[in-house]
Symmetry: C2
Subunit: 331 residues, 2 copies
């Protein structure tokens, strides 16, 4: 974006362990990553947390916001009543150009609604999307959509591909990322109606489109951007986590007493990390809004908060938003 | 079905290793499982294989069929030209009541087309379906549809539930199997349009319907019958296999030199088996046709052929077809 450090607004009040773990993670990130941080929330509560650390000289400032949206609240109603909610104040900092990005571990619906409401959707996007590498075993294969869009039109799949390709280029540094449609068969003509309708649009597009791929190709490394509807994507994501956990249970039994405890733990942690990418990175971006927004897991602790800030800093520095905007403009 | 042994017609010419491995597997099954077998295909070729074993007293007979459908042939055209194809002759044995079931490791499309053409679809079925426990880690959770039906109507999902519940009762011996819709969220109201439309139909049905479940519940053991469209099911199946293989690769590296070779192999084989259920059992049934039909993998060898025959014998003895027919009648 520019040579000056990325400026990230953090919703210090959002998340199960807010503000303690949020502030702690922010301090870690500020120490390591050369970002400018704005901690948004109740000033007294945030200052109380900051006092626990040596923050002298760190680029952290506090932006007061009097209210918080809690889990379980209806996001639309809550945001209407609580105009001074920390997540809204953080979004406004981006809207006004004071910050480059928002990180929130708060109420997912509230972050989504406030991002759309305040920042707006990018031209060409019907609904914001989420995506990432689905498994750590294939880090150069991102899958979009992983949840928000249960029902898609062929055109939505094209917009996911724009976003996925931009992520592959700008974040993963893949020059000419390959793009494929996730399907129930690799042959042309295979697919559900959505895939069949989308296929000709992809063939006419400027993507490096390689056709259909199957479920195992999420791991094969054969393609950089896999596009699917969010119903399928969400089920895959949860299944991946579930399968990882089940295999871990099995390994704990089969490796018990065959390996020293710490070696077994290391192997188990590795399988967990490979199958729980969202846990490892602590959340994910919302793509398709007119700003850089990270929704973290509510249960995120300091390490994940710091990692989220590091991720979002890379995204800001890579100018990903501009890449997406220009890709959508060419559709 | 009756007190007499199950009578199974085997397409001895279908599969990559036909007739050698098919005949070998059939002999193994006849020795162990108390089934009556009809080996259908070129009599001279089958007899040549049978001579390799001591089959005196075994309930095996050969039914001549002069032609074979090969991989790569268009099934509809091939079946029209080759009226004496082994798969057709086998289906006719069921149609005429001479056999209770067909097992074929041949051309999948040809088995499907000939089953529909000769045996017909059951009343209430728009397309035949396939399903099984998706992972060995949750053997009491069957998933339908796993492939044939990429696009489904709500009513199709009901018919899959009938079939899945019948399998749970008759094959898995679960008294009152629970049924759920696979969705992108457990809460009522979550889902794509198909799930949202299907949900009220399931609530009105006689199923022990517990609502929506998520991708991880395929492994959690929370529900016995999970219903989804075949697009999602096929992608999950392939992803499961791919993830299993990737974790195996990883374990081979991380456990190398930490365990004796044979212990490592045993652990790897276990993970493979848990994530490749179709490989382990060598194929699966087609449900929804008016007969018991097993489509095995083309690459099946004798052990899988024998296992397929054992599975199909259980299905015949459990009177599964009648259970499905009566369930469909109550929809």
């Amino acid at each position: 974006m520019s040579e000056s450090p990325a400026k990230v607004a953090i919703d210090a009040m959002g998340g199960d362990y807010a503000p303690q773990e949020i502030v702690k993670g922010a301090v870690q990130a500020a120490e390591k990553d050369g970002v400018e941080l704005m901690l948004v929330g109740r000033e007294d509560a945030i200052q109380r947390e900051l006092k626990k650390y040596d923050v002298s000289g760190l680029p952290i400032r506090v932006v007061n916001a009097g209210e918080v949206i809690r889990e379980g609240e209806s996001p639309v109603a809550a945001l209407r009543q609580k105009v001074d909610a920390s997540v809204l104040v953080a979004m406004r900092l981006v809207k006004e150009g004071a910050a480059d990005a928002v990180v929130s571990m708060g109420h997912t619906g509230a972050v989504m609604v406030s991002a759309i409401g305040i920042l707006g959707k990018l031209e060409g996007i019907s609904q914001p999307t989420a995506g990432t590498a689905l498994v750590g075993l294939a880090p150069n294969t991102v899958v979009f959509d992983l949840g928000p869009n249960a029902d898609c039109k062929p055109r939505d799949l094209l917009s996911f591909a724009v976003i996925g390709a931009a992520v592959a280029r700008k974040v993963l540094h893949i020059g000419n990322p390959t793009v494929a449609l996730l399907s129930n068969g690799a042959e042309e003509g295979k697919g559900n109606l959505l895939v069949k309708k989308a296929c000709p649009l992809f063939k006419q597009s400027n993507f490096n489109f390689i056709g259909n791929v199957e479920g195992n190709d999420i791991l094969s490394g054969k393609v950089n951007v896999i596009v699917c509807d969010g119903f399928t994507g969400n089920i895959l994501l949860k299944f991946c986590e579930g399968l990882g956990e089940s295999i871990i249970e099995r390994l704990r039994v089969s490796l018990d007493k065959r390996l020293p405890r710490e070696e077994l733990d290391a192997i188990v942690s590795d399988v967990f990390a490979l199958t729980h990418i969202a846990d490892v990175i602590g959340g994910g971006m919302i793509y398709g809004v007119n700003g850089v927004v990270w929704i973290g897991h509510g249960r995120a602790k300091a390490a994940q908060v710091a990692e989220s800030i590091r991720q979002i800093k890379l995204v800001v520095e890579a100018n990903l938003l501009e890449e997406i905007r220009s890709g959508l403009g060419m559709l």
